[in-house]
């Protein structure tokens, strides 16, 4: 395995600045997820690392070597795409063996067998090796596609939303599997997705990307608890963080220059209304089973909070609201640091 270094890379397509001065290091054995909406430049970044695109400026390093001008084939990377494209006329075994049978590699058949069997074992598809590739479930097909990347034992894996075409249950299962495989192999993975749950659950570190710029890089916990700005704060969390204009809560002490408060749904706490403090009126209660989402209105602001499913709150009722650990943002959306740490 090897590290990946992206240094001050920019890429423009016509009028669109797809990636601008992006720098990111993926350490050896690290699982880094680039999280962003479509059009943010995450796939372009991946393609720049793969060598499928050439940067306008900046450089790409793999294993400490500058590969910016190297063709994709010599970079020793494996790319997993969103749509599993298996060879339909080949068996699972032959699909997995295919990358090793490339004339450029000259792997002897006994080694191929060993590597394919090891990979199949890792992916829990050993029983399906003789199946035609078309006679597999969606989850199995995507496993084979990932297996085809693993079997080559490259320095770096690049993955472009490999789970997004699967249904929710399978996605949850493969998330856990992929993370296990990555830990077992000590693999270096650069993974892009727009799905915050994938990013939070699998990443060693997340890079939040928007309009071609990397806004923040950190562990999922850092990004969630300590976002650098308004955008990042809104990117993680479901339901999303509540944003409240500062002038709605004039009696609340806050740092100078605060324009917006961000309060996570679990940090809006409800109590019995007693006339004092902030009072909200309950609009709607969503029962999700393990928790309730309570939608309430406070001074013309809609807020969403998490509540215990058996805490009695009914629409129309007035409740006291307590805001815990708010985040403060200035007029530009930058986070204003305070001494208060989230706990």
């Amino acid at each position: 395995m090897a590290s990946v270094g992206i240094r001050q890379v920019s890429k423009r397509f016509g009028n669109v600045q797809a990636v601008s001065e992006l720098s990111l290091v993926v350490n050896d054995g690290e699982f880094v997820v680039l999280l962003g909406p479509s059009g943010a430049g995450k796939t372009t970044t991946l393609r720049l690392v793969a060598g499928l695109e050439q940067p306008d400026a900046g450089s790409v390093h793999i294993g400490g070597r500058d590969v910016t001008r190297d063709p994709p084939g010599t970079r020793d990377i494996a790319f997993v795409f969103q749509q599993y494209s298996l060879y339909p006329h080949l068996s699972v075994y032959d699909n997995l063996a295919f990358p090793l049978r490339s004339p450029a590699r000259r792997v002897v058949e006994a080694d191929i067998r060993r590597r394919v069997e090891q990979t199949a074992d890792l992916l829990h598809i050993s029983g399906k090796l003789k199946n035609p590739a078309t006679r597999l479930s969606g989850g199995e097909m995507q496993r084979v596609a990932i297996g085809r990347a693993l079997v080559r034992d490259p320095s770096v894996y690049l993955m472009d939303e490999p789970l997004s075409s699967l249904d929710a249950k399978l996605r949850a299962e493969l998330r856990l599997e992929l993370k296990r495989i990555q830990v077992e192999l000590g693999a270096t993975i650069l993974y892009v997705t727009h799905d915050q749950v994938e990013a939070m659950t699998m990443a060693s570190r997340i890079g939040v990307i928007k309009d071609g710029k990397l806004l923040q890089v950190g562990t999922p916990r850092e990004i969630y608890e300590n976002p650098v700005d308004y955008y990042v704060a809104g990117r993680l969390g479901l339901p999303p963080i509540n944003f409240i204009p500062a002038d709605v809560l004039p009696e609340l002490p806050m740092p100078a220059g605060t324009r917006t408060l961000g309060v996570r749904t679990e940090h809006v706490q409800l109590g019995k209304a007693n006339g004092a403090g902030f009072v909200g009126r309950v609009h709607r209660v969503e029962h999700l089973g393990d928790q309730n989402h309570v939608h309430l209105e406070c001074r013309n602001q809609m807020l969403v909070t998490l509540a215990d499913p058996h805490q009695p709150v009914t629409p129309g009722e007035d409740v006291a609201i307590r805001l815990v650990n708010p985040l403060y943002f200035d007029g530009q959306g930058h986070r204003l640091q305070t001494a208060v740490r989230q706990g």
């Binding site: 993370k179 296990r180 659950t201 993680l236 996570r264 029962h287 089973g289």
Partner: protein, 365 residues
């Protein structure tokens, strides 16, 4: 607005029984979700209520009126398909007004009703816009407008949000429910997405293989599932199932599970020795060094406030929802505890729930 009643409804396509023996009543103004996997018969049920399919047997009553064999157009019901289907050559006002135009409503009335509908959906400023210029959310609002402009007795919706990504879907769920709260129309909403059903519906019917497995409020089907199918289908991650063998006596408060005595809600029926399943929701699992049940941590998934920890136990794999402040290491051995009054027991063969004190009617009188 209307009450919808379905009596002993059957539908067969050749040899295949798509729906067998559905019975339910949807009270006026209820938001009712038909929830189940593909092929469970939920869409067929909806299409029979709409009049797009004829039942093999059984009756459908709309406000007490037998409409079983009445044409779709004579039922005064609006059917909302995938919400995106709009006429591209018409503007928003023409799209919303189209169903009224087809009915031969006068121009003045159409204008009035379209304005009123637009106000309800907060799209008044878009009325003269071209449909192709609209954002995804606004298109959905227009499509909804076309359904509500007729003021039908009921709305039937078939996976209207199916094609949307998760975050946008959640937003639209909120809007649909808000709209329902404003106009209180009886609504039947078909979906395979448990989160949509849970977050919007007043009552949910969970369907499996052509049969209704359980009907109840979201909290009821979540807390007291009638079967393993329901317990597995609702909740994310779903309920954990730990199989074991044993017999039960009425009044039992513990079970013998993997040679450990586990406290359960008081058993209210007798059962001979046989296969049983202990059902545990992820949030009802805790870690404690002192616990007798042991497992090995397979993985942990950070989710912000909580984390999902996967634990391999002798009896199977468990997913626990724990506060993210608890630190766990992969591979470590942990003691596992259960919140005993929230556990479920199932018959291992039929999958039906065993009657215990954790039964909705017992808990809520």
């Amino acid at each position: 607005m209307a009450q919808i009643r379905v009596e002993n409804l059957h539908k067969s396509f050749d040899q295949f029984a798509a729906v067998h023996g559905s019975n339910f009543t949807i009270e006026d103004g209820t938001f009712f979700a038909l929830l189940g996997p593909s092929g469970c018969g939920k869409t067929t049920t909806l299409r029979m209520i709409a009049g797009l399919e004829l039942p093999t047997s059984g009756r459908i009553l709309l406000d007490g009126d037998d409409v079983t064999f009445r044409r779709a157009a004579q039922r005064d019901i609006a059917f909302v398909f995938q919400l995106f289907a709009l006429y591209p050559h018409m503007n928003v006002e023409q799209n919303v007004g189209f169903p009224l135009k087809c009915q031969g409503t006068t121009r003045r009335q159409i204008k009035e009703r379209v304005r009123e509908t637009a106000r309800l959906l907060r799209i008044e400023d878009l009325l003269s816009s071209k449909v192709s210029k609209l954002s995804g959310g606004d298109r959905q609002r227009v499509a909804l407008g076309r359904a509500i402009v007729r003021r039908p007795k009921a709305f039937l919706m078939d996976e209207p949000l199916g094609a949307l990504d998760a975050e946008f879907r959640q937003l639209m769920c909120g809007e649909l429910r808000d709209l329902h709260d404003r106009i209180s129309a009886t609504t039947i909403y078909v979906t395979h997405d448990q989160l949509e059903a849970m977050s919007m519906a007043d009552r949910i019917a969970v369907m499996n293989a052509g049969k209704v497995e359980q009907i109840g409020t979201p909290q009821e089907v979540y807390d007291c599932p009638a079967s393993m199918f329901v317990a597995d289908f609702i909740g994310s991650p779903p309920m954990n199932f730990l199989p074991f063998a044993g017999g039960l006596r009425s009044g039992d408060r513990t079970i013998e599970f993997c040679s450990v005595s586990v406290a359960v809600p008081e058993v209210r029926e007798e059962r001979a020795v046989g296969p049983l399943v202990l059902g545990v929701r992820p949030e009802h699992i805790g870690f404690s060094d002192a616990a007798a049940l042991r497992g090995r941590v397979f993985g942990s998934e950070y989710l912000g406030t909580t984390q999902i920890v996967t634990v391999d136990m002798e009896a199977g794999r468990l997913k626990a929802r724990l506060p993210s402040s608890i630190s766990v290491r992969l591979g470590e051995t942990v003691g596992v505890t259960f919140k005993s009054d929230s556990l479920a027991l199932f018959d291992g063969q039929t999958g039906r729930a065993v009657h215990t004190a954790n039964h909705w009617d017992d808990r809520h009188g």
